[in-house]
């Protein structure tokens, strides 16, 4: 009987194994979500911010303010009287009305330019997010340049691209905007090799230098730096209130407000990162998802911000990855930050039962991992049947990068998906912590 039972044991084991799904991928990574992880984060911040930020101007206020702002451009006594009238008003209320005018579809070109010029001359930090958003829609070149100048005065480089575009346009296309953009360059941060206005070529090169630093670090400076920068900060109550209002748009069902918010938040100084990490714990799936996605779109500048400020991305992602519904987005954000120290958090997800999570983990590792990921990489590539085409190619590229082996894509991998991963491989050279020459 003992002998018969022993003979039956493999059969019993086989029968039991039939209950499992094929290709059991092995132990799942530990993923304990704290009971209080999800919170009404946005609602709490909006309530706290209710006393701060910019008031919404009413249509009557917009109609009342428009002639005063337009009168500023008339010159002479009319302009002086208008200025005197406007300067008696509350600056925040006036800025809100000027922004409202600038944002309204029906505002005419003259009033639009006058509103932008007022905001440039009287920059209010809380207006930074909505000014940045204007650049997504503003068609009038002069008004767009005034917005970019206002942003420069507010230590934001969100308008640098717009200035460069206006300056690069062919002469004669919009000379007034070009002249205003050229005059804006004296607002750029100084550099020992640059004298503002000395010659256009030098101005242009300096603009490109500052733009490169902005794109790399979201700091308005003429040289890269790994030192903390007071310009990172967005914690002033009025500005933070406006940032939270922008984050609240991530919950929208229509995508337009979501896209507007992502446009702004990815162009803000990196002080928005702690706010976005807080939003990644919101009760709304959409807020969590898009907050993480926004961090991913900011990418390496967020990683550099964490390095120079000591912001604990490791702790954040350690917890965020425990949230199953947004794990893929957390992995994408982790990888995009480009910090090698984060890679050990992503590697265990190569063993996930979810193809989507394995793909996201492989992509994250391609973007941030170093040689310490080789063991996980080899283990995953040893079971290629568990890898999607995308994950297989991402890991293949990473191994090529780390070990010099040739990378191979499966024939079924879409060309566009291959290109995306090839681009990420190229971007590894720009990861935070990688040496960079001054522009």
């Amino acid at each position: 009987m003992r002998c018969a039972a022993a003979a039956a044991l493999p059969l019993l084991l086989l029968a039991g194994a039939g209950c499992d799904r094929p290709h059991d991928p092995g132990p799942a990574p530990p993923a304990d979500l704290p009971a209080d992880w999800l919170q009404p984060v946005v609602q709490q911040h909006l309530e706290a911010a209710a006393r701060h930020g910019l008031a919404e101007a009413t249509p009557a206020q917009l109609a009342e303010i428009a002639p005063w702002l337009e009168a500023l451009g008339a010159g002479g006594r009319v302009a002086v009287a208008a200025r005197r009238e406007l300067e008696q008003r509350d600056p925040a209320t006036l800025a809100a009305a000027a922004l409202g005018l600038l944002e309204a579809r029906e505002t005419g070109a003259a009033a639009r330019r006058a509103a932008a010029a007022w905001l440039e001359a009287h920059p209010l930090e809380a207006a930074t997010p909505r000014l940045s958003l204007r650049l997504k829609y503003e068609k009038d070149g002069v008004a767009a340049v005034a917005v970019a100048r206002a942003l420069l005065r507010l230590r934001s480089g969100a308008g640098l691209e717009a200035l460069a575009q206006v300056l690069a346009a062919e002469a004669g296309s919009d000379d007034a905007a070009r002249a205003a953009a050229a005059a804006a360059l004296h607002l750029l941060p100084p550099h020992p090799d640059w004298r503002p206005g000395a010659d256009f070529q030098a101005d242009w090169q300096h603009l490109q230098r500052v733009l490169a630093v902005w794109n790399r670090e979201r700091r308005l400076a003429s040289a890269p730096s790994d030192q903390p920068d007071p310009g990172d900060d967005v914690s002033a109550p009025a500005l933070a209130a406006e940032v939270w209002r922008m984050i609240a748009r991530l919950d929208s069902q229509p995508l337009r407000p979501v896209d507007d918010a992502r446009f702004v938040l990815t162009r803000m100084r990196c002080g928005v990162l702690p706010l976005l990490c807080a939003a990644a714990r919101d009760q709304s799936l959409y807020v969590r998802e898009h907050a993480l996605e926004t961090i991913a779109w900011i990418g390496a500048p967020a990683g550099r911000y964490a390095l120079r400020t000591g912001f604990d991305l490791n702790g954040f992602f350690g917890q965020a990855l425990a949230e199953p519904r947004t794990r893929m987005q957390a992995l994408e954000a982790l990888g995009a930050c480009g910090l090698q120290e984060l890679a050990p958090l992503a590697a265990p997800w190569l063993r996930s039962t979810s193809t989507e999570e394995v793909t996201a983990a492989a992509d994250a590792l391609l973007r941030c991992a170093g040689v310490d990921a080789i063991a996980a990489l080899d283990e995953a590539l040893a079971r290629p049947e568990r890898l999607s085409d995308e994950a297989h190619y991402a890991l293949s590229l990473l191994r090529a990068e780390l070990q010099g082996t040739p990378a191979a894509a499966r024939p079924t991998l879409a060309a566009t998906e291959k290109e995306r991963r090839d681009r990420w491989r190229e971007q590894r050279r720009e990861r935070p912590g990688a040496p960079v020459a001054e522009g």
Binding site: P22, Q253, R256
Partner: protein, 317 residues
């Protein structure tokens, strides 16, 4: 040995019944193996083409405008509340709006709109009423208001039922495949299909005492014409014939379109369901006759010779 076999039989009999699918559904490629008829239809559809479509890639800046990804490579819609928008997936994006996008259940099972599913099929399909409801399509197709337009449309127009029983009525009609299998047509015919366009809108015209006139009626689309993406446009054009009978160049008369938000000088001119747009025209000097046509463009910059001509009408006194 017999005892062991008996024990094995007992274990097999006492095993919990397998209510879960026979395998795990990780890619729509698995579905295509057992459903070649549906697969062939789907491959013809713009759902299959949603991610690779070069026109979409151009308009979305090669998906650098990642907002477009959610609907062009979505996660399973059934993982979200009815009608709420979807989010994008990480793998198999090239399959666009694939089988799992519409059929995958959150518990890894497979949903069907068939009230009597074949429970013996390897994927163990389960009837999900939401599959037949407009909310299932709304997750993507209401981003530009199409489902809201359908809800606001009249039930009937010109004595015939207009709204049908939802999106499926026009876009997934009943179909019998070459192998005899019945189901719903997975080609999702819509604005890329001329017959579908002609079943939605018609152009009419003539020459009355006030002069030549032209009209367009949305008689068959139970939503605006054109609808959905703001890149869609339909144009009315006219050309005149003089005494010699030679036609002059086509001239623009009217555009039906919902503009992008940054096109601040334009308003929404889409034609709601069951409504007619009509205009009296000023004929060119010396014109004895003319003709008008209705063109459909999948993007507003599409050239005339690439647009689809829905209809043409002659204008004669």
């Amino acid at each position: 040995m017999l005892a062991a076999l008996g024990l094995l039989v007992l274990v097999l009999l006492l095993r919990p019944a397998r209510s879960e699918p026979a395998t795990s559904w990780i890619s729509s490629r698995q579905c295509l193996e057992c459903h070649p008829g549906v697969a062939a239809e789907w491959r013809e559809s713009h759902h299959a083409f949603a991610y690779e479509n070069p026109e979409v890639r151009q308009l979305s800046n090669d998906f650098r405008n990642e907002e477009c990804l959610a609907c062009h490579a979505p996660r399973p819609v059934l993982g979200f509340a009815p009608g709420e928008r979807v989010l994008e997936r990480a793998s198999d994006r090239a399959l666009g709006v694939d089988c799992l996008a519409c059929h995958a259940l959150p518990d890894a099972g497979v949903a069907t709109g068939n009230p009597q599913p074949d429970a013996s099929a390897p994927c163990r399909p389960r009837y999900e009423p939401r599959m037949r409801d407009v909310s299932h399509c709304a997750s993507c197709h209401n981003q530009h208001g199409t489902v809201d337009q359908w809800r606001a449309a009249p039930e009937e127009f010109e004595g015939r039922k207009l709204k049908g029983d939802g999106c499926l009525h026009c876009h997934m009609p009943d179909a019998v495949r070459p192998d005899g299998a019945a189901g719903r047509d997975h080609r999702f015919r819509a604005s890329h299909d001329l017959a579908q366009l002609q079943a939605a809108a018609r152009i009419e015209g003539g020459w009355s005492a006030e002069g030549p006139w032209v009209s367009v009626t949305n008689f068959g689309a139970a939503h605006n014409f054109p609808t959905d993406e703001r890149s869609r446009a339909a144009d009315v054009q006219v050309r005149w014939r003089g005494a010699e009978g030679e036609p002059g160049p086509w001239q623009h008369v009217h555009r039906f379109r919902d503009p992008y938000r940054d096109e601040v000088d334009l308003t929404n001119t889409q034609l709601p369901a069951g409504q007619t747009w009509r205009r009296t025209l000023a004929a060119a000097p010396g014109a004895r006759a003319g003709e008008a046509r209705l063109l459909y463009r999948t993007n507003p910059f599409q050239a005339d010779d690439e647009a689809r001509e829905i209809g043409r009408v002659s204008l004669q006194p």
